[in-house]
């Protein structure tokens, strides 16, 4: 019972196609880098448990496809998310320019008051092709009051830190997450809690 997670958090990774969202997730969950990981079709997810202040916290991380043609389902993925990781590629100016559009989506669809946003600059290992400076990223993050971190899925630089910071910030935000009611482990599809609710609830994990 000691390792029963105290809560399950829903995180979402968004950003243009090819910025390295799936690679970041793979690095975080499996600590590997695979240049051949397929472009995401629709959406994918991974589950990982990490420890915050000695308490196990379960993360359900949803990795969305950046490609335009897959975006129709996205609104529903935002629902219930406690944290959003917005990724751009420091070697691609267009991926940086599209950030405003992505933030617009977040504001339109995310429904958790107080949800934490984190801006992640990826591929900083690729110094030769870099076009977006650290300052550019910082400025954007400040303007939109998000967390900001630069990292590389390839070299693993800062990747765990990024997730840890985000989760810690969520845990520190009162009212953003609920303690597991029962001591039992939370199933991803546990809906029993919501059944009695008169307004048709859904499990926040999804």
């Amino acid at each position: 019972m000691a390792d029963t997670p105290i809560t399950t958090l829903k995180l979402l990774i968004i950003g243009e196609s090819g910025v390295g969202k799936s690679s970041l997730l793979l690095r975080f969950t499996d600590d590997t880098f695979d240049p051949e990981v397929a472009a995401t079709i629709g959406v994918d997810f991974k589950v990982k448990t990490m420890t915050v202040n000695g308490n196990p916290v379960k993360l359900a991380i949803w990795d969305t496809a950046g490609q335009e043609r897959f975006r129709t389902l996205t609104p529903s993925y935002y629902r219930g998310a406690q944290g959003v990781i917005l990724v751009y590629d420091v070697t691609s100016r267009s991926s940086f320019q599209k950030l405003e559009m992505w933030l617009g989506e977040v504001d339109a669809y995310a429904n958790r008051p107080g949800m934490v946003k984190m801006l992640v600059a990826n591929k900083i290992d690729n110094k030769k092709d870099r076009v977006i400076t650290r300052d550019d990223g910082l400025k954007f993050a400040r303007k939109h009051s998000t967390l900001f971190i630069e990292c590389s899925a390839r070299t693993a630089d800062n990747v765990p830190t990024a997730f840890e910071e985000l989760v810690e910030k969520i845990i520190q935000t009162p009212g953003l997450w609920e303690q597991n009611l029962a001591a039992k482990g939370v199933n991803l599809d546990d809906q029993t809690v919501a059944v009695e609710a008169p307004c048709g609830g859904y499990c926040s994990v999804l």
Binding site: I41, F45, Q67, F70, S76, Y109, A197, C199, G200, L206
Partner: protein, 974 residues
């Protein structure tokens, strides 16, 4: 343990008169002579003593005097214990006390206290050395807490001025029916006397007997060689003697001394008269007519606001004479000095009636309570349908049916297609909503219908609030169809037979929705576009239905355009049932491939129609939308690359998306699961690939990537040969798999990703709800409407209501968010809404009263006073009483001649004497409550005894007089 000496057996005791007409002066001696058989009784006394010891009561109370009003402002504390192990003596013991924190120690206060009016205590001190005067007597003489203004205070505090005492009551286990046996009360009381004496208990001990609500007590205390007995008399018939102060003073004197004429002691009195004004009950020049007008039931499209009945508050005027000389006041049946207009102290208090109901909050609560009703709408209709073996049954049914369907009217009403007649249940019982009202309701909901145009009624609409937080509520746009549905359900629920009416209404609405789907009319009042997941599910379902209707209509229009020979879709003859318009599709016509809207095509979805063998490599390109820049095919140089017409992505309601997510979550968190998820989601991708292949004969995967995922087509900086990115070039990847499986097929020939026929039926069957479901789906909009109403009223009032808009919105949006609905929070919210509603209405009524009151001296000042009074709802002193400007205003609104109430019975108003200062003579109502406290310090039982403190509290209201007397006797010289 218990030593019963000779003195103890001579316990004196006051007979508690059960017979109403016995007056308190009759006393009786009670002698206990035999203890040998009273072992249980002795054990009971021992237990009582144990409890006193256990609580470590101080030997004597600290010498304190309680601060003004500390009885009301202080936090009372309680200790509880019980006696369970003595058969027939099972009792609960409670100590109730006000911690000394609310008192100031006498030491510190001596100078102030001594110079202040409580002259009685300083007078009595002559008989004691200063330190000896018991704190208990100090409490009984203190005037700081006369007539405490609190409904929750223990009555013993009010009656005897006590701040620390014990009460024992029979425990539920007590089998002895001692309530009716006087002997039993005597027995317990004498036990208390013994216990108090043995333990030197410094505080009084009471026994509560009889029904708890009757508040009957007897009590005893013993301090400094004085024994005080406490007793209550409660009479329903008020003897004349007890009606006036003069009579009460006589009774008081009689009790202290057998020979009243000998009693020369100064008797002090505190008096308070309570005058009540309930503006709902009296008539201020037609005010109540106005209020009734205000409160008539609201029509369709509104929510009610305000009290559902009268008696929501009462305004009390407290006129008091603190610490007067009892003998100097004349108050007899013939003449009274106690004119409220002359009272030195005035205070007012506004009391809101906790129990009265308010209509907006009631509406919101009752509506929400229905969400748990599990019966289906259908089961209610079956109740209506039930067969009657009556010859007329058929005729009746037709009649009802005709009424329902508007048969006989030439123009077909919007709400029913003829195709549905056969499916209509035949109602034998009268339907809960008559045809006329139903028409009105449907006209409100579907303003685009013929019916509505006939009705020509303008319905009230809500205006959108500006608070941005309103947008965070998962509801539907203000005045949209779902919004109106919620109001209509509420309206029908209240006015047309409750749940049965709602079931019938919902049934009608479903018929209308089906009619619209089958006849291709968009449902009015529904947000355009894809289902908005930020709105409630009902809204999304209606949006979905409209998506289906729009898509099928677009299909029909396109089909009609492609084949002029076809009959127009909006033919006058209703289509009874059309699955897919089988007669429409005509695929051979290649020229029509360039329909701008790819959704027009649907032949592929017909389950019956076998997919004919499609040419493997169509020579002719199909389904081209536009050129993709200047790109050309890689293999077939020179051939421009075309963007294909693609299938629109399928609209999804939140529950569909949810289902989809659940299916994904059900897959494993590994490579296999990942592949399964990709396959699940690659349907749209394969469709795109098929369309691309059809539009670009001879194309390769690389061509597709260049269009679909340009970032994965990497061109060297030199601008030469391009190549696939590493991740795309992986053989066996989901992308390549999908590419290989995709047949070249224009969207017209593809299986549709979105089948509006199936989806529309799904929506309609989803909406076949339980009755609770109907309420559940409408609740968000009812709350939106309710808050809009509440906020509008808040804006319209001058007072600042107790509810903060932002917090309320936050709470509602949290309640309706999809994670958790908490009843506790809902109840809290409704309670706040109710209080706000009550305060706003109360202020409104008071304002009208002020407006109606003639010759109000300082109207503006008084109005601002009313505002603060409604906001604070605290006892407010009126310095200067009736002479102050504020007092004159109050006297004016209390003046009965400003009210037109004729039916008010009761004694004639008092205080009609001309004011000597020439103030306007006011005619105040008779007090509803008179309270008197008499106090004195006098020797008892004999003239040579040491003087003790005596106190008598009396309350007189119509039909009840209650006297609570505490009389002390000296045990040393007694």
């Amino acid at each position: 343990m218990v030593t019963l000496g000779e003195t103890d057996s001579r316990v004196k005791y006051r007979k508690q008169s059960e017979e109403r007409d016995h007056l308190p002066e009759e006393t009786e001696m009670f002698e206990i002579t035999d203890f040998t058989t009273a072992s249980d009784w002795e054990r009971f006394i021992a237990r009582l003593e144990d409890a006193i010891h256990d609580w470590k009561l101080p030997r004597s109370l600290p010498e304190t005097t309680f601060l003004k009003d500390s009885f009301v402002t202080g936090k009372w504390k309680e200790c509880n214990s019980d006696i369970t192990d003595v058969p027939d003596f099972e009792y609960l013991i409670k100590r109730l006390y006000l911690p000394a924190a609310y008192a100031e120690t006498l030491e510190a206060a001596i100078p102030a206290t001594r110079s202040d009016p409580p002259r009685l205590s300083s007078l009595s001190k002559t008989c004691f050395s200063v330190n000896e005067f018991p704190a208990l007597f100090e409490q009984m003489l203190s005037m700081e807490n006369d007539f405490p203004n609190s409904a929750t205070l223990h009555p013993l505090c009010r009656w005897f001025g006590l701040a620390d005492f014990l009460v024992i009551t029979a425990s539920p286990f007590n089998q002895i029916d001692w309530q009716v046996k006087e002997d039993r009360i005597k027995l317990i009381q004498s036990s208390m006397v013994i216990a108090v004496a043995n333990t030197k208990c410094p505080i009084p001990m009471f026994l509560q007997f009889g029904e708890l609500s009757r508040l009957m007590f007897v009590g005893v205390s013993e301090v400094a060689g004085f024994r005080t007995l406490y007793e209550i008399i409660d009479l329903e018939r008020v003897p004349d003697r007890m009606k006036t102060l003069s009579g009460l003073v006589e009774i008081f004197k009689d009790k202290i001394s057998q020979r009243a004429e000998e009693a020369t002691q100064l008797i002090k009195t505190s008096i308070q008269l309570t005058l009540e004004l309930n503006p709902d009950e009296v008539d201020f020049e037609g005010l109540s007519d106005e209020l009734i007008e205000d409160r008539k039931p609201d029509g369709l499209g509104c929510l009610p606001f305000g009290p559902s009945e009268f008696d929501s508050f009462v305004l009390r005027l407290l006129a008091s004479w603190p610490n007067a000389n009892a003998d100097a006041i004349e108050d007899t049946l013939l003449h009274s000095d106690l004119d409220p207009l002359q009272a030195p102290k005035w205070a007012v208090q506004l009391n809101l009636n906790e129990g009265s109901s308010y209509r907006l909050s009631d509406t919101l609560m009752n509506f929400a309570k229905q969400v748990h009703k599990k019966e289906t709408v259908q089961s209610y209709l079956e109740f209506l349908e039930r067969d009657i073996a009556d010859a007329n049954a058929g005729d009746q049914a037709t009649a009802v049916l005709n009424r329902l369907t508007g048969e006989g009217d030439e123009r077909l009403r919007s709400r029913l297609s003829k195709a549905l007649y056969s499916r209509l249940p035949t109602f034998h019982l009268p339907v809960p909503i008559d045809a006329e009202s139903l028409n009105e309701i449907l006209a409100y909901l579907f303003p685009d219908s013929e019916l509505a145009k006939d009705e020509q009624r303008v319905f009230p609409a809500f205006s959108e609030r500006s608070e941005s937080a309103f947008k965070t509520i998962k509801g539907a746009p203000i005045n949209s169809l779902p919004f109106r549905l919620a109001l209509t359900i509420q309206f029908v629920f209240d006015n047309y037979g409750g749940l049965l009416g709602v079931a019938y209404l919902w049934h009608e609405i479903l018929l209308e929705l089906r009619y619209r789907w089958e006849n291709g009319h968009l449902v009015p009042g529904v947000e355009a576009g894809m289902p908005n997941h930020g709105s409630c599910l009902l809204n999304q379902k209606l949006q979905m239905l409209n998506c289906c209707i729009a898509k099928r209509e677009a299909g029909r229009v396109a089909a009609a355009a492609s084949n002029d020979a076809l009959a127009p879709v909006h033919s006058k003859s209703p289509v009874y049932y059309d699955g897919v318009d089988a007669d429409v599709t005509d695929d051979d016509d290649e020229e029509d491939d360039e329909f701008f809207d790819c959704v027009t095509d649907d032949s592929g979805s017909l389950p019956g129609e076998a997919q004919g063998p499609v040419a493997q490599k169509p020579l002719k390109p199909e389904g081209r939308k536009e050129l993709l820049g200047t790109l050309t095919l890689l293999r077939d140089t020179g051939m421009p690359l075309y963007v294909p017409i693609t299938q629109e992505s399928a609209p999804m309601t939140e529950d569909m998306a949810q289902e989809h997510l659940e299916r994904m979550v059900a897959t494993d968190d590994d490579e296999d699961g990942r592949a399964a998820r990709m396959r699940m989601q690659s349907v749209a991708l394969v469709s795109d690939m098929s369309a691309f292949k059809a539009a670009n004969p001879g194309c390769v995967f690389e061509d597709f990537v260049r269009w679909h995922s340009p970032r994965d087509w990497e061109v060297d900086s030199a601008g030469g040969e391009g190549h696939l990115s590493e991740r795309m070039s992986q053989a066996g990847s989901a992308w390549i798999e999908a590419w290989d499986s995709a047949e070249p097929k224009s969207v017209r020939k593809q299986k549709r990703l979105f089948d509006e026929c199936v989806e529309a039926e799904k929506v309609l069957s989803y909406l076949t709800l339980t009755i609770g479901g109907v309420f559940r789906h409408a609740l968000p909009m009812l709350l939106q409407a309710g808050l809009t109403k509440l906020f509008d009223e808040m804006d319209a009032t001058e007072i600042s209501p107790p509810c903060e808009k932002g917090a309320v919105l936050k709470s509602v949006s949290r309640l309706l968010s999809d994670t958790n609905f908490s009843w506790l929070e809902y109840e809290k919210l409704i309670k706040l809404v109710r209080l706000t509603e009550q305060i706003i209405s109360t202020h409104r009524t008071l304002e009208s009263v002020a407006k109606k009151t003639r010759d109000l001296p300082d109207r503006d000042g008084f109005r601002s006073f009313l505002r603060t009074m409604v906001e604070a709802r605290q006892l407010t002193a009126i310095p200067g009483g009736a002479r102050s400007p504020l007092g004159q205003c109050l006297a004016a609104i209390f003046d009965q001649r400003n009210q037109r109430s004729s039916s008010r019975e009761g004694s004639p108003p008092i205080g009609t004497g001309m004011d000597e200062k020439g103030l306007k003579k006011r005619c105040l109502p008779a007090p509803s409550l008179k309270e008197f406290i008499l106090r004195t310090v006098a020797p008892r039982p004999y003239q040579f005894s040491r003087p003790g403190v005596h106190r008598m509290y009396t309350s007189i209201r119509s039909g009840e007089v209650r006297i609570a007397g505490a009389f002390t006797e000296d045990l040393m010289y007694g």
